[in-house]
């Protein structure tokens, strides 16, 4: 299958082209023999405009929910549990065995048709930009994974076989020869005859290679049968990404009256970016003295990640690249002007010369503010300050780096001692943090510390009814942390204004 794609034979192509030019398109009704689908064949039957819209919206609802689960760092089990009722309601997809006699009946066909059509409608809606394509492919793959894992094992096997993926089974002789190594490379396996392996090019299982959970020899990965899932998923997302690109190229030529385009536009807009947890209003703190000289004083309101960056900066008089980036964007977010920010960094890097600063650092700070760089960067006034989501999932810190989230990237001991150093001595809080971190609920841990540090103020605003529950939602952005902390600690001092925090 791959071979025919890579090779381009002009002669043969032309013949085909002539043949098909006047031929009638032969549409075939799909009979959906399997529950799952790689969505290789687009739908061709007619559906009503209303179906077009409602099916798409139903699917979109599911996808948005999946994405928000991933942004909240939910574990696969939690995600599955959360989505189960929703899937049942909006996008049911039953297995063959649920029908009488295991035969695909009308109900199953209808479910599968809806799944099939809604997928392709959303493809149209989300192929427009690179960003949408990437997100769509990501959540679709997650949805597929969810269903694939929940599938009946026999049906799953039948489905995988129907995919015709090019897998070479490792023969007994080779298996014995490599016995030791196969066992060592396959986690959780004790005996050789419990498992079978197949050989594929390692590039088809990059994830397994990355985590060293397969044996790799001479460019071939020895994948245990049970890792099928990972391979099927890779295949799924690869094909989908390719198809989305093709769709986007075809989109301008969509031969369409003005019925579908508005719906599609509307759909793609509703797939809002949850990462935009930061808005301009988060930074507006009128009357607050935010300037380069004040950062030390303000740092008492910083969340732990930024405090860590700040103390590291003060200690080493330097921060590495990602640390500078994360911190600069945060400072931008709290309302520090570009000029002040440059002053701040210049003064903080005590050991370097002006010349070196101008050459090596100045540009990056300006770039973060959108003062230089490409058109898009300037128009967007640089990058948005990083959300917890981004800090938690991207670029884990390496040697000598101070960025990231202490709750996630520190060992428990180091985290505890750092919390104590910042004045958190309450044993209940520390124990709670430890439990949160063990359950990988890093933002909960951070919020716990916040609530402890501001407990009297929070009580006051609650009692006096100054702040509603919306203003005290879980914090998922370092800049929200700062703003809320600052407002709470300065309750009486700030000029009277509408102390609302739009989310």
């Amino acid at each position: 299958m791959l071979r025919t794609e890579t090779r381009f034979d002009p002669k043969r192509k032309r013949v085909d082209y002539k043949k098909t030019q006047f031929a009638n398109a032969s549409y075939k009704d799909q009979d959906y023999p399997y529950r799952l689908s790689f969505y290789d064949v687009p739908p061709t039957q007619e559906i009503s405009l209303e179906e077009f819209e409602t099916w798409a919206i139903d699917r979109l609802r599911i996808l948005a929910e999946i994405e928000s689960c991933s942004f909240r760092n939910k574990s696969p089990q939690e995600t599955a549990a959360h989505l189960e009722p929703l899937l049942k309601k909006y996008l049911p997809l039953s297995s063959n065995s649920s029908a009488a006699g295991g035969v695909v009946d009308d109900r199953l066909r209808k479910e599968r048709r809806k799944d099939h059509y809604s997928h392709f409608i959303l493809r149209l809606a989300f192929s427009g930009t690179e960003d949408l394509r990437r997100r769509f492919a990501r959540v679709e793959t997650m949805l597929f994974k969810l269903r694939f894992q929940a599938d009946d094992s026999r049906e799953r096997r039948a489905f995988v076989e129907s995919l015709n993926l090019n897998w070479e089974l490792v023969q007994d002789e080779e298996k014995r020869e490599l016995g030791e190594q196969l066992l060592a490379a396959t986690p959780g396996l004790r005996r050789l005859d419990e498992e079978n392996w197949f050989k594929v090019d390692w590039t088809r299982v990059p994830e397994l290679v990355e985590h060293r959970t397969v044996l790799v020899r001479k460019g071939r990965a020895y994948v245990p049968m049970r890792e099928q899932t990972s391979m099927v998923l890779t295949e799924f997302s690869n094909r989908l990404e390719k198809a989305l690109e093709l769709t986007s190229r075809a989109l301008p030529r969509l031969d369409e009256d003005d019925r579908l385009t508005p719906i599609l536009d509307h759909l793609s807009k509703n797939f809002a970016t949850p990462d935009s947890g930061f808005s301009e209003s988060d930074s507006s703190l009128p009357g607050a003295p935010i300037n380069a000289a004040n950062i030390d004083a303000l740092s008492q309101h910083f969340p732990l990640c930024m405090k860590h960056l700040h103390t590291t900066l003060r200690k080493n008089n330097h921060l590495k690249h990602f640390g500078r980036l994360q911190y600069t964007l945060f400072l931008k977010g709290i309302g520090l002007s570009l000029e002040d920010c440059l002053v701040f960094w210049r003064q903080s890097f005590k050991t370097i010369t002006d010349d070196q600063f101008n050459k090596e650092y100045r540009y990056n700070v300006r770039h973060s503010y959108g003062d230089v760089g490409g058109d898009a960067n300037r128009r967007g006034r640089g990058y948005a300050p990083y959300s917890c989501q981004k800090i938690l999932t991207e670029h884990p810190p390496g040697t000598g780096e101070a960025h990231g989230c202490p709750y996630r990237h520190f060992s428990v001991d180091n985290l505890t001692s750092m919390l104590q150093a910042t004045g958190v001595h309450d044993r209940d809080v520390l124990r709670g943090v430890k439990e949160d971190v063990e359950k990988k609920r890093y933002h909960i841990a951070c919020n716990r510390v916040f609530e402890w540090a501001h407990k009297s103020e929070i009580k006051r605003v609650k009692d006096e009814g100054i702040w509603g529950p919306a203003e005290l939602e879980t914090i998922v952005h370092p800049n929200t942390y700062f703003k809320r902390s600052y407002l709470l600690k300065n309750l009486g001092n700030l000029p009277k204004q509408d102390v609302r925090m739009e989310e």
Partner: protein, 530 residues
């Protein structure tokens, strides 16, 4: 000195591109005493200025002008001449030059830099093709401006442009879908994207600073270079045996680092996800110094780790002696922190408290002997063994700068450029999996640019007057050929190593092209059905 080489240079460029080599200098020795010759050095100046004026002109013409102006008006350039000629004199006589001295660099590029080898390496074929012409080069100019998206159709054009800009160093980026210079003329900017690039790895000894006690920051010595050698060994064998790559060359970065370039076709075409997978495969140490235990491996150990441990064990013993990682209080605490059993670590801490000078290898041995005495009733021998394995890895396993390897668009310094800080040439360390070579590599003996230029000048002069052939000619099978300037210097073995690497690469590339053509031919006839 520059004036002696450049005028003659135009003859080969006019001849043919075959004799691309770096400026031959048949009668070089009579210019050797140039340092004393103030005129010669000063006369060099107008040439430089003129060449800048004639930027885009034919080089031969520029050279002619340069030659004539050098002859006629020895000290015409007004203000600059005295100031800039003075350091040059001092430089050739003494050791105090700045390594990014523009004159030094220009001579280095024009006489010693192996452009042809570089071209063949990147082009994968003797005939200029898109692999070379769509390749991005990025130049760091003497004024520290950074010039990205440069590209060149041929090796000659590259050489010409490098001589014109005289960069303090230049970097190599990916091959793009189109010529990088045309990127702005494309209708859609998304059409301009990287297609292929060698997989690269970067190992930097500063990443070892928490376990390196002999030097820190930019400094290195032979002791800590051992970290680089073990890294090369571990990574090289895995790339070959596990991933099946063959064309791997290791380049010294000129100061404290090592770059690996993997030129296999399959490697060049990997997308970023796959690159990330490879770097992940090699990553064993996780987290920063704050992260507590940095090695947390699943048991049983993956075959790659088992093999790496076997390679690293002898080095660990060496590290204990050379670096004394557990001698200091912090080092000792770190060691105890990494060991599992509490009563064991307490006993050890007590024992060592009485002899603060106890060397690291003895402390390491103490762990086992203390465990033998049965100081701890609950000791889990397996856990102890595993902890010890983890410690060995933490103190020896390669620390790759992962970001460099993850993305195609990353630029990496070209082989054979000069490190501006040290003046050392970025020479290949080893290729073809020859680990003996990696063992014997000594970064402190890597030639410096000024030494090399002196070697060229001294060549022949020292060999005696009667010995004609040594004076720039060599028997080349049938005929005599001019000796390349680099062949007269200690750069020779390095260029030859590189050329050998490129040759095997080209050969395998040729075989591949031929095979693909044959296969295509076969399918072509299949398609002719009547």
């Amino acid at each position: 000195m520059a004036d002696s080489s450049s005028p003659r240079e135009h003859s080969p460029t006019q001849d043919d591109d075959v004799s691309l080599p770096d400026a031959p200098a048949p009668a070089n020795n009579d210019d050797a005493p140039a340092p004393e010759n103030t005129n010669g050095a000063a006369a060099n100046q107008p040439g430089v200025a003129l060449e800048d004026l004639f930027d885009d002109d034919d080089e031969a013409l520029a050279n002619e002008l340069e030659a004539s102006s050098a002859a006629n008006i020895p000290s015409s350039p007004p203000q600059t001449a005295p100031s800039s000629s003075a350091p040059e004199i001092a430089s050739s006589a003494q050791q105090q030059e700045s390594y990014s001295d523009p004159n030094l660099m220009r001579q280095f590029y024009s006489r010693l830099f192996p452009f042809r080898s570089l071209f063949q390496w990147l082009n994968h074929s003797p005939k200029p093709g898109p692999d070379f012409s769509n390749r991005e080069f990025a130049l760091t100019l003497p004024n520290d401006a950074y010039l990205r998206y440069q590209s060149y159709p041929t090796a000659d054009m590259l050489r010409k442009d490098i001589l014109r800009h005289n960069p303090s160093r230049f970097e190599i980026g990916p091959v793009y879908t189109t010529n990088p210079r045309d990127r702005k003329t494309l209708r859609k900017s998304s059409m301009f994207r990287p297609l292929s690039k060698e997989i690269v790895f970067d190992i930097d000894l500063t990443d070892y600073d928490d376990i390196r006690t002999c030097c820190e920051k930019a400094n290195i010595c032979n002791k800590c270079w051992a970290f680089a050698t073990m890294a090369i060994k571990v990574v090289d064998v895995a790339l070959r045996d596990d991933f099946g790559f063959e064309h791997i060359i290791w380049i010294y970065s000129g100061r404290r680092g090592v770059h690996a370039w993997i030129s296999d076709k399959d490697a060049r075409e990997l997308d970023d996800d796959k690159r990330k997978a490879i770097t992940g495969y090699f990553e064993v140490l996780k987290g920063g110094v704050q992260g507590g235990k940095r090695v947390n491996l699943r048991r049983p150990l993956h075959p790659h780790i088992v093999r790496s441990l076997e390679i690293l064990k002898p080095y660990f013993a060496q590290v204990l002696v050379d670096q004394e990682p557990f001698l200091s209080k912090t080092g000792q605490d770190r060691l105890l922190q990494l060991l599992p059993d509490k009563s064991l670590t307490e006993a050890l801490a007590k024992k060592w408290a009485s002899s603060p000078e106890r060397p690291s290898h003895k402390k390491w041995a103490d762990i086992d002997s203390m465990a033998e005495t049965g100081v701890s009733k609950t000791l889990d021998r397996k856990a102890l063994l595993q902890a010890k394995q983890d410690i060995v890895l933490e103190y020896t396993y390669p620390r790759l700068d992962v970001e460099v390897g993850k993305k195609r668009i990353h630029l990496l310094k070209s082989p054979f450029v000069v490190h501006p800080g040290t003046g050392r040439v970025c020479v290949p360390i080893t290729a073809g999996g020859d680990m003996k070579r990696a063992d014997s590599f000594d970064p402190l003996s890597v030639p410096k640019v000024n030494e090399l230029l002196r070697e060229v000048d001294q060549f022949g002069a020292g060999a005696g007057d009667g010995d004609e052939p040594s004076n720039g000619f060599v028997e080349d099978g049938v005929t005599m050929r001019k000796l390349n300037d680099w062949e007269k210097t200690s750069l020779k073995p390095y260029v030859e190593l590189f050329d050998g690497f490129v040759k095997t690469l080209l050969k395998s590339e040729m075989v591949r092209v031929k095979r693909e053509r044959d296969e295509d031919g076969a399918t072509g006839t299949d398609g002719m059905e009547f």
